[in-house]
Symmetry: C2
Subunit: 392 residues, 2 copies
């Protein structure tokens, strides 16, 4: 574990300290929001070079599944929260038993950790999901498909950013995938492959006292399972559809007792809005809110877990477009970064301090304004230029 | 000096590190901007509890006038910059001689450190200032006044936030003030007391390659020598006057070779715009830009000192109003802070992590929108409530 001298001061004495498990970019952007709020921020990172560890005064080095590291993290912190879903429930139970205030509560978080539990709970509550079943064998997948391939096969636990999800075209392919090792406690889920018109995300912040605010519903584009583009608000969505999506997210937040940010990824089939995935933390679909909303998702996550009144989630312009910067073949971003800034002085560039690796999220860009086609073109150009996909 | 382990990593390897001398709130808000940009940030603070030291990974403890501390700060940093004007020129000369890149250059910074040099240089260049003279004796003040009291008496060096400035009504009063000790190398300046309609501030960012951007000209209100309210843009200012004020700031930046942010405090007499003071760093008159401009003054300061292309300084709404939170009799801000957030979800609250002392700047609030009277009322209410001036 890291050395953390007792003379580290991270906030005025009357302000609380939030400890976040995980040192990725979500944690980094939460650290940034904590500075403005004046609340203290402490991070548990695996290494000193992790994204959030680079920018936080109070960094503890350790593993998210080490009960000793977590207990240490919680000492003096008013609340413990997460930038990912990977802390095992047994470890969380120990943390809570030790007296830590954990938000979201493990009893809520479990529905973001286990897709089978989530599907069962939402279905029971009458919230529309894709048709789904638990599959013990490839034959179960075959009978679920009933000759209608492809279907989606998922592990109930341990997936992230497209890992743990397969598009399956045949029983043979199911056999091959299911020969892989499931993580501890995981099961196989089979789901219909939804023919969607677009993917949406609905984010809400909810506090322990039950206050909740809903962000504008956004359109997301996933590429190879990774979120690459977000438009706020989702263009072409009717007010009724947008309200329906927000109501789904608010209902899930209340039903599961979520505190902090909840992101609900949705399929819009044209006729119906179906729940795809849940995340109980700041989420890629809300990065636009730093530059595009009155209150960012990172600030509202902090406000929510501290049971502070929530900030306005409203858009500050007609549209905000966020495009992720995905690592390519060029290891150094800085030369391209200078050119981008010269080309578009309105561009908001966010860089996460991560070493570039192909397919890795290393930053994002946001532009705001009225002309959606122009915003999309500028944001994609910037992201592509930064990663070397294009060179002019 | 602080322990700073070599395993502290503050940015991706291809991104530069900016070192800032001074750990106050300007440095804190610059640290916040550095997170988004992905550039590294290192701070020299006097104590671990200083505002910026609470939120920075790489904190060096030491004094801003200690050449050893400054040399240490500069090792591995790509540029050294400032959150105040208090580093002596002799110490800066040593730092530059040691190979550090210092921005603004000491040859520019001296005009923000020494008001007599500044007045002489601007007057020589034909830039309108209040009538002024150097006064060696109270008799010099008396003859400058020529029976027209009051006049303003200032120390050329060492003043800050209203300290070092007196309104003088008589020769006897001048005698009393001038019996005080001048700081090293300082002289007495006497100036006319300008009958202004309003006070303005014009901020520009300028990079070493000569690119410059001008922020909207703002109206400032000073109370007891401390900036308490800023409205962007200055209401009632004609386009011609605003352009004239921006041109003054751009001209001064070019004339003096400023890099980074330059704030020019101005008197608007109705007929004329006169230069009051200069600051070569982020400035209180630009705090509105965090929530109100496309690119904040803190981000543009970093971009400028790194010779990165500058970001757009344009307003994101019709008006932005910033009101400083000045410490009162209530030591704990947090209880009031919760109520404020509940009352106004659009309010942007910035807290600096400083212990409350009467008269001390401990935070600021910003609101943006169309209705100036409403914005002013909300911002003042919030600031007054936070400090206990009002209780509902």
């Amino acid at each position: 574990m890291d050395h953390h001298p007792s003379d580290v001061i991270v906030a005025a004495s009357d302000f609380p300290i939030v400890a976040m498990i995980g040192g990725g970019q979500l944690s980094r952007m939460t650290a940034q929001a904590a500075i403005g709020l004046g609340v203290g921020f402490r991070v548990l990172a695996a290494t000193a070079s992790e994204s959030a560890a680079q920018v936080s005064r109070d960094v503890r080095l350790g593993s998210h599944d080490d009960p000793v590291a977590l207990a240490d993290l919680a000492v003096g912190a008013h609340v413990v929260t997460f930038d990912h879903e990977h802390v095992p429930q047994s470890v969380l139970a120990e943390l809570v038993a030790g007296g830590a205030v954990v938000r979201p509560d493990p009893s809520a978080l479990i529905y973001a950790q286990d897709k089978a539990l989530m599907r069962a709970r939402l279905s029971e509550a009458g919230i529309a999901c894709p048709r789904w079943a638990i599959a013990a064998t490839p034959d179960d997948v075959d009978s679920f498909a009933g000759g209608q391939w492809p279907v989606i096969l998922k592990t109930s636990k341990g997936g992230y950013d497209g890992r743990g999800v397969w598009v399956i075209d045949s029983c043979d392919q199911a056999t091959e995938v299911m020969s892989g090792q499931l993580s501890d406690g995981a099961v196989w889920l089979v789901e219909e492959k939804v023919a969607f018109v677009q993917e949406l995300a609905a984010q809400v912040a909810r506090s322990p006292s039950g206050q909740a605010v809903a962000y504008p519903v956004v359109r997301t584009v996933q590429t190879d399972g990774i979120c690459t583009e977000v438009v706020a608000p989702a263009p072409g969505l009717s007010d009724e559809q947008a309200t329906a999506a927000q109501e789904i997210a608010l209902r899930i937040a209340g039903l599961l007792g979520v505190t902090g940010m909840l992101a609900v990824e949705l399929f819009d089939t044209g006729d119906q809005i179906l729940v795809n995935e849940l995340a109980m933390r700041p989420h890629n679909s809300g990065h636009w809110s730093i530059d595009g909303a009155v209150t960012s998702q990172f600030e509202n996550h902090l406000r929510a877990v501290l049971d502070l009144p929530l900030g306005s989630p409203r858009l500050r312009s007609r549209y905000a477009v966020m495009v992720n910067v995905i690592g390519g073949d060029v290891p150094d971003l800085y030369p391209a970064y200078k050119h981008l800034m010269a080309r578009d002085p309105q561009l908001r560039v966010h860089v996460y301090g991560k070493a570039v690796r192909p397919g890795r999220k290393v930053g994002h860009v946001t532009v705001t304004g009225d002309d959606l086609a122009d915003l999309l073109a500028r944001a994609h150009h910037a992201a592509d230029y930064l990663t070397g996909v294009i060179d002019e």
